[in-house]
């Protein structure tokens, strides 16, 4: 992120090249501020417009800009000469106006895209003009790390004297706006910003400006860059982090702390009831989960988790979704998941249904695209008293002939309440299942056992 105020000795402009598009010559201006560079291209007419404002408002001499030429202005020699002259012109202007760069010049050089001061001015103006009407309709706003970084820098650093040129550029308007937001979305990325060499995810930022956030979404964020959650930790109820490469829960919940231990009560996210850390690189459910003791709803799709663990530490959890992981279950899950009502373990490596046999609170069980192959496994879930939605599609089991009928048969009288693979049983399926049951009774001379003895 550029900050001209801090690098005013290290600021250069150059025009190294030009480009001809649709018969118009665009001069490529390279701006360098400290370690940051970017480029912006303008045609000669843009220079003329800029120059007119600078003459009128900032005492720039009229004859400084290279002259207009109507005929022969596509001659390469002429363009080359003009390029050199324009560069000289920009250097003089910038040198002369650097201390208090007028907005028109800053915009001409794209400072409003890359420099903290001008980004903040822009945001402050928008917040002042539109902040209230925006907040009347919505309490949700999407930031990028560049904006948050700019606000953070302004909060922590000393003097930004340029704001004063206009009250509408006052930083107060931004903070005022931020404090009222209830849903904050931050979208980062590993790409560079515009034509600059700044990378979104290289910019550190704080979250202390948000005071009433109940929902926080991070997409594609480098979590170590979040330096301070401030009071967000006390207010947030729903926390989403997707595609951000977090490897442990503490990477997210303690990213702003030096000591990554779960012991301090100051670090607990007491209001947090919903977590969605899907599409990261979590290898397990670590102790970090203790930092969200009131969690009701946990989604960890698309990670690298092999084992269900530590869920028993969340007494209020009823919704668990861990689709597209590497989960294998061997032992009974009762101690882990006894309170769970909604369970989605689709796209994992599950081969058996016996571990689910005692999860009496389950209403929904989604095991799509696993590796369950034996039809005899069905009896372990057919006894779950509250089960209403069962998904087994995509398992080898579901390719068995009369698969659906076999499942409904196992569910006995409750078959008509069961929605299997998103489809209620047809009357025909129910009838066939009933006939099969009757045949079994005749063959074995007793009611088939559907409740497993173990």
């Amino acid at each position: 992120m550029a900050c001209l105020l801090e690098h005013d000795n290290n600021f250069t402009v150059a025009i190294p090249s030009y480009e001809i598009k649709n018969n118009v010559t665009y001069y490529e201006i390279h701006v360098t501020v400290g370690a940051v560079t970017w480029s912006v291209s303008h045609r000669y007419n843009d220079f003329v417009e800029l120059h007119e404002v600078l003459i009128a408002d900032h005492c720039i001499a009229k004859e400084m800009l290279p002259q207009k030429k109507l005929i022969g202005n596509r001659d390469p020699g002429f363009i080359e000469k003009r390029k050199v002259d324009l560069e000289a012109y920009l250097r003089v202007v910038v040198n002369y106006l650097q201390r208090a760069m007028p907005l028109v010049l800053a915009k001409f050089l794209d400072f409003d895209k890359y420099d903290i001061t001008y980004i903040l001015q822009n945001m402050a103006y928008k917040c002042f003009m539109d902040g209230d009407s925006f907040l009347m309709k919505s309490s949700e706003y999407t930031f990028n790390p560049l904006q948050l970084h700019a606000i953070s820098e302004r909060l922590q650093k000393c003097c930004f004297p340029t704001e004063v040129s206009n009250n509408q550029h006052d930083f107060s308007h931004i903070i005022d706006f931020c404090q009222k937001l209830q849903t904050v979305i931050v979208r980062g990325g590993r790409s560079i910003i515009g034509t600059s060499n700044i990378i979104y995810n290289s910019l550190p930022f704080v979250m202390t400006m948000f005071k009433s956030v109940s929902e926080l979404h991070f997409y594609n964020i480098h979590l170590p860059n979040v330096c301070d959650f401030g009071s967000v930790r006390l207010t947030v109820g729903c926390f989403v982090i997707n595609n951000s490469c977090i490897k442990q829960l503490t990477d997210a919940l303690l990213c702003d702390k030096v000591h990554k231990t779960t012991e301090s009560s100051d670090d607990v996210w007491n209001k947090l009831v919903k977590i969605d850390f899907s599409w990261n690189e979590l290898s397990g459910i670590d102790d970090g989960i203790l930092l969200a003791p009131n969690l009701q709803n946990l989604t960890l799709d698309g990670n690298q988790i092999r084992k269900i663990e530590n869920i028993e530490k969340l007494p209020k959890l009823t919704y668990l979704c861990m689709s597209a992981n590497y989960i294998v279950v061997e032992d009974c899950l009762y101690s882990q998941l006894k309170n769970i009502v909604f369970l989605n373990l689709s796209q994992n490596k599950i081969t058996k249904l016996s571990p689910f046999a005692k999860l009496v609170n389950l209403k929904t069980l989604d095991l799509a695209s696993n590796s369950v192959s034996e039809a005899s496994e069905i009896r372990y879930v057919s006894c779950l008293p509250k089960l209403e939605y069962l998904v087994l599609t995509g398992n080898p089991l579901s390719t068995i002939i009369d698969y659906r009928v076999k499942v409904f048969e196992a569910f006995g009288n409750r078959a008509q309440c069961l929605c299997l693979d998103n489809e209620r049983p047809s009357q025909k399926e129910l009838d066939t299942a009933a006939v099969l049951r009757a045949l079994t009774v005749v063959r074995e001379g007793k009611t088939p056992i559907t409740i497993p003895s173990g």
Binding site: M123, K126, C127, F128, M129, D130, D132, S133, F134, L135, M136, K137, Y141, T142, F143, N144, Q147, L155, Q156, K157, C158, C159, F160, P161, E163, V164, S165, N166, N167, Q168, D170, S172, H173, I175, D176, Q179, R187, G188, G189, S191, I193, Y200, M209, Y219, N220, N243
Partner: protein
């Protein structure tokens, strides 16, 4: 919590300054939330609060910067004086040292704000009567000599807190009406906000950050 109405005709920018531990953050909290914060942490850098008040039939939004009293934050907090329409200078009535430092706070304020900035002196913790260390008369005299408005208040009981913020706003509003304060001047700390709710013209172009994923 009912959402605040987003209609007001002016914005006034305030700062609250004074020594560490005099109760600046508590005053702000009492004013914006009408609650006393008993274990208020030290402010780091700056805090911010807003409230819309009614002055002479006009809705005015106060944007208040609460600064850290600790010396080490002085460089940061100084950048917030600029463009303040009102400055609330706070001391602790039970600690004389905080009163003794007022002249240096006043110098800072006079140097960093503009001549029309209204400075209001608040002697906080007036509820702690038996621990009083600075007499009312003494502070009153200091205020009069320096042309400050003055009140003793208590962030704990809420006594005079509202008055301090509102009286400051009244004075600023008076200056506007008298023409002593130029709305168009930069650094006046006052902004006219003619827009009314329901105005939709610019809303559709509301800031949408570019994103790259």
């Amino acid at each position: 919590m009912s959402a605040p109405p987003y209609s007001y005709s002016y914005i006034f920018k305030y700062i609250i300054i004074g020594d560490m531990g005099v109760g600046k953050s508590c005053l702000l909290h009492q004013f914006t939330e009408k609650k006393f914060m008993s274990d208020c942490p030290h402010t780091i850098g700056v805090e911010f609060g807003t409230r819309i008040i009614d002055v002479c039939g006009q809705k005015i939004k106060l944007q208040i910067w609460d600064t850290a009293g600790q010396e080490r934050f002085r460089a940061v907090t100084r950048s917030y004086y600029r463009g303040a329409a009102g400055a609330l200078m706070v001391y602790d009535t039970t600690r004389r040292t905080t009163y003794n430092h007022l002249s240096s706070w006043l110098t800072d304020t006079r140097n960093l704000t503009n001549p029309s900035t209204v400075i209001f002196l608040i002697g906080n913790k007036s509820d702690l009567k038996d621990q009083r260390d600075v007499a009312y008369e003494e502070a009153k005299q200091f205020a009069d000599e320096n042309g400050l408005m003055f009140v003793e208040a208590s962030a704990k009981t809420g006594d005079n807190v509202e008055e301090a913020f509102v009286e400051t706003a009244k004075k600023i509003f008076q200056c506007i009406q008298d023409g002593r304060l130029d709305l168009n001047a930069t650094e006046s700390g006052v902004q006219h906000k003619p827009s009314q709710p329901g105005r939709q013209t610019l809303t559709d172009q509301s800031p949408k950050p570019s994103c790259s994923c």
